[in-house]
């Protein structure tokens, strides 16, 4: 029998069954097998321009579903970071020399350029395990553990959450709590607050490893509006305490009139910083409130995904994030998804581009560009398709640009001729492959 004849059996049978039963079937069959293990792997490249941070990352997710809607998810991420990162010092018209974080070498920045700490090199490994299961008919519970390690940082965390369905399962309310204990053990030790950067070999400005504790609380509501629309609202509260400084960030000590960084002469015969720099000092607590809303709208195979987040914290950083994605199908088994994201934040209350020589030190100060006032845009496109064996593949390419400014009242003398804020551009490329039944 030929394939063509074979294939017609299902049609003839449908017709014969219809005659036998005297009615047409109520609707097409919809049967899905409970999957066993399924996997998602992705490779991510994040590269900042001008030789700054480059991150190549491999992510693996393995998920196992069990009877009764129970599931286990395991993840592994390996990141390889290289490149340089802005160290917080202001650009100068002369060469600046810095002691590297290890305290046993120096590096220099050419005149007119943003000082970058080029010794930035690390490998991070992160793992997580989480379990989810229903609890009775309307409740579901999830619990997880996370851990990560890199050269100078270890993280251990745990989380637990509970959700309940209401309103014929059209409404889901969830609460969750997460705890983390992070340990920081930078090369050479964590710097003492506001300690000056010292000559090579002098570690008197450093101390031992430091800890940070983070508690997160989450409240969420997901509502199915109709067949085509889903909305979600979350509130989260995050409290961090302990050592919250970035041990690699410094601040330039400048002349209060000229705005130039005060020169410094290293001990004769020893290499050391060419100017006065001090390590930063951040508060030992940070409380963040975040409000998040998301709507997904589905029509004719297209999905519009809009979200907005407002975050405010007691460091006085307020941020707004608006993210829009539109997925539309191309043929039966592929789609395109353009995306644009806008981000804007105000600077932390203690953000200082530099500190004046001779003034008493404030309690807190940081010139970390990530705590400054800046805007960022991400624009990109994703293309996804199903492979012949029904697995999912996607590629995503995004461009990220960030630029900010130092508040006018913080700009002193010659600084007005310099580009004080180290903006950045980056390219993000992601390839992902999902497989398994």
């Amino acid at each position: 029998m030929t394939d063509k004849q074979n294939n017609s059996i299902v049609m003839s049978l449908a017709a014969a069954t219809c005659t036998l039963l005297g009615t047409a079937p109520a609707g097409p069959v919809n049967a899905q097998e409970d999957p066993g293990w399924n996997f998602n792997t992705s490779l991510l490249y994040y590269g900042e321009s001008d030789g700054r941070v480059q991150d190549a990352s491999l992510n693996l997710l393995a998920r196992r579903s069990f009877a009764d809607d129970k599931s286990l998810a395991l993840t592994l991420a390996v990141d390889s970071l290289t490149g340089a990162s802005a160290n917080g010092a202001t650009p100068m018209d002369v060469v600046q020399t810095f002691t590297s974080p290890s305290g046993n070498a120096t590096y220099s920045t050419p005149a007119g350029e943003h000082p970058l700490d080029g010794t930035f090199l690390d490998t991070r490994v992160a793992i997580s395990a989480s379990w989810q299961q229903p609890l009775g008919r309307l409740y579901a519970v999830n619990a997880g553990l996370t851990a990560s390690g890199e050269w100078d940082y270890t993280h251990l965390g745990g989380n637990i959450g509970l959700s309940r369905d209401f309103n014929k399962r059209n409404t889901t309310v969830s609460i969750g709590v997460a705890f983390a204990r992070d340990n920081l053990d930078p090369e050479g030790g964590a710097p003492v607050r506001f300690a000056p950067m010292l000559d090579v070999g002098d570690l008197s400005n450093k101390m031992g490893s430091q800890d940070k504790d983070v508690v997160d609380l989450l409240l969420g509501v997901t509502q199915v509006v109709n067949r085509n629309m889903l909305v979600q609202f979350n509130y989260s509260y995050s409290d961090s305490s302990g050592y919250l400084n970035d041990p690699y960030k410094i601040i330039s000590i400048v002349d209060p009139v000229t705005g130039d960084t005060v020169p410094r002469i290293p001990t004769p015969g020893v290499a050391g910083p060419s100017h006065e720099f001090r390590f930063e000092s951040r508060p030992e607590d940070r409380a963040k409130h975040s409000f998040y809303g998301q709507g997904k709208y589905y029509w004719g195979g297209r999905v519009l995904d809009l979200s907005y987040r407002y975050m405010t914290d007691d460091w006085e950083i307020d941020s707004h994030t608006l993210d829009a994605k539109l997925r539309f199908p191309i043929g039966d088994s592929s789609y395109l998804e353009p995306r644009v994201r806008f981000y804007s934040q105000t600077e932390a209350e203690f953000y200082r581009a530099s500190l004046n020589d001779g003034d008493p030190l404030p309690q807190y100060a940081s010139s970390d560009y990530r705590l400054g006032n800046f805007d960022a845009i991400t624009a990109g496109i994703k293309y996804g398709w199903k492979t012949g064996s029904d697995n999912d593949m996607s590629v995503r390419l995004e461009y990220y640009v960030q630029d900010g400014e130092v508040p006018a009242e913080q700009i002193i003398g010659n600084q007005s001729q310099r580009d004080l804020y180290p903006g950045l551009e980056a390219i993000i490329f992601n390839f992902s492959y999902g497989f398994g039944k």
Binding site: S12, T17, A31, E33, D34, A67
Partner: protein
């Protein structure tokens, strides 16, 4: 036989978020799961479903005396006029016989007189098989609706169709009464009626040699039907050769390398069951056949 009175009444109980009714029919445990609100409504549906199962069994089982199948099988080669419902089933059997190039044959039941699938090593002699083959073959009978005429000694058996047919018939009755999600399950052949409130009914397909309560695979059924063909416990073993219970009506021998069980998903239980049976009759090519039909299936070998 006056069927209804001989049956034990169905039993209804409350499960988690639905009603669950159990009864026995067609030598199988049968079930109605329904998400209707009231116990009274659930009872009404359950009684209707059970009554239909028993009616189909009473009318078409070859193990019941005095029914239409018995009349046909004792017609001694004479013409017999059948009612509409029986005629519909005979038309359906006729279609299947043609679709399957004669592999599906409701007159092949006589082979079971020589093949006793009891796990023993009693493989019949070729002479006995040849003798039985004389009274097998749908093409040998005369069927011109509503008149059926068998050759003397021939018999029909609608057992390969009746259970799935009963499931779909019962589904029709439930559908007339409610939109609430319901599942009708007669011995593993099942169909969904209405729209399940949750993500669908979870149906386990048991692995042939799995331990108790360890379904091999779990299927979420939101609409349509599942039916299974195959029974791994029914086989003969001789000289290390396993003879499965699926018989080829043209040779009189078990189909070579048939899967141990095939479950098919389709719009109706009848379609699912017939696809599973037709695939089973293809033996080694079962999966190939199902792939060509582009249906969802789960095959155990």
């Amino acid at each position: 036989m006056s069927a209804a009175s001989a049956h034990r009444p169905p039993i209804l109980r409350r499960n988690d978020d639905h009603w669950c009714g159990d009864f026995q029919a067609m030598a199988s445990p049968c079930q109605l799961l329904t998400e209707v609100n009231s116990e009274a409504h659930a009872t009404e549906l359950l009684n209707a479903v059970a009554a239909e199962a028993w009616r189909v069994e009473g009318k078409f089982s070859r193990y019941v005396s005095g029914n239409i199948v018995a009349d046909i099988n004792s017609s001694g080669g004479l013409e017999i006029e059948v009612d509409d419902e029986t005629a519909n089933l005979l038309d359906f059997a006729d279609s299947l016989n043609r679709m399957s190039n004669r592999r599906f044959d409701i007159t092949s039941g006589a082979l079971r007189k020589v093949w006793k699938f009891d796990g023993s090593d009693r493989v019949p002699a070729q002479a006995d098989i040849d003798a039985v083959l004389q009274v097998i073959g749908w093409h040998k009978i005369r069927w011109k609706r509503p008149i059926l005429q068998l050759r003397p000694g021939m018999e029909i058996d609608l057992g390969g169709i009746a259970k799935e047919y009963a499931v779909d018939r019962a589904a029709g009755l439930v559908r007339e009464q409610t939109d609430a999600g319901s599942l009708i399950n007669f011995g593993g052949d099942l169909v969904v009626v209405g729209k399940p409130a949750t993500g669908g009914w979870r149906v386990g397909i048991e692995s042939v040699d799995a331990g108790e309560n360890s379904p091999d695979r779990l299927i979420h059924l939101r609409a349509g039907a599942l039916a299974t063909s195959g029974d791994a416990r029914r086989f003969l073993l001789q000289d290390g050769v396993r003879y499965g219970h699926v018989l080829n009506p043209m040779t009189g021998w078990p189909v070579d390398i048939a899967p141990r069980s095939i479950t098919v998903a389709a719009d109706t239980c009848t379609q699912a069951g017939m696809l599973a049976t037709l695939a089973m009759l293809r033996g080694a090519d079962a999966e190939k056949f199902l792939d060509q039909q582009s249906v969802q299936y789960w095959c155990l070998r």
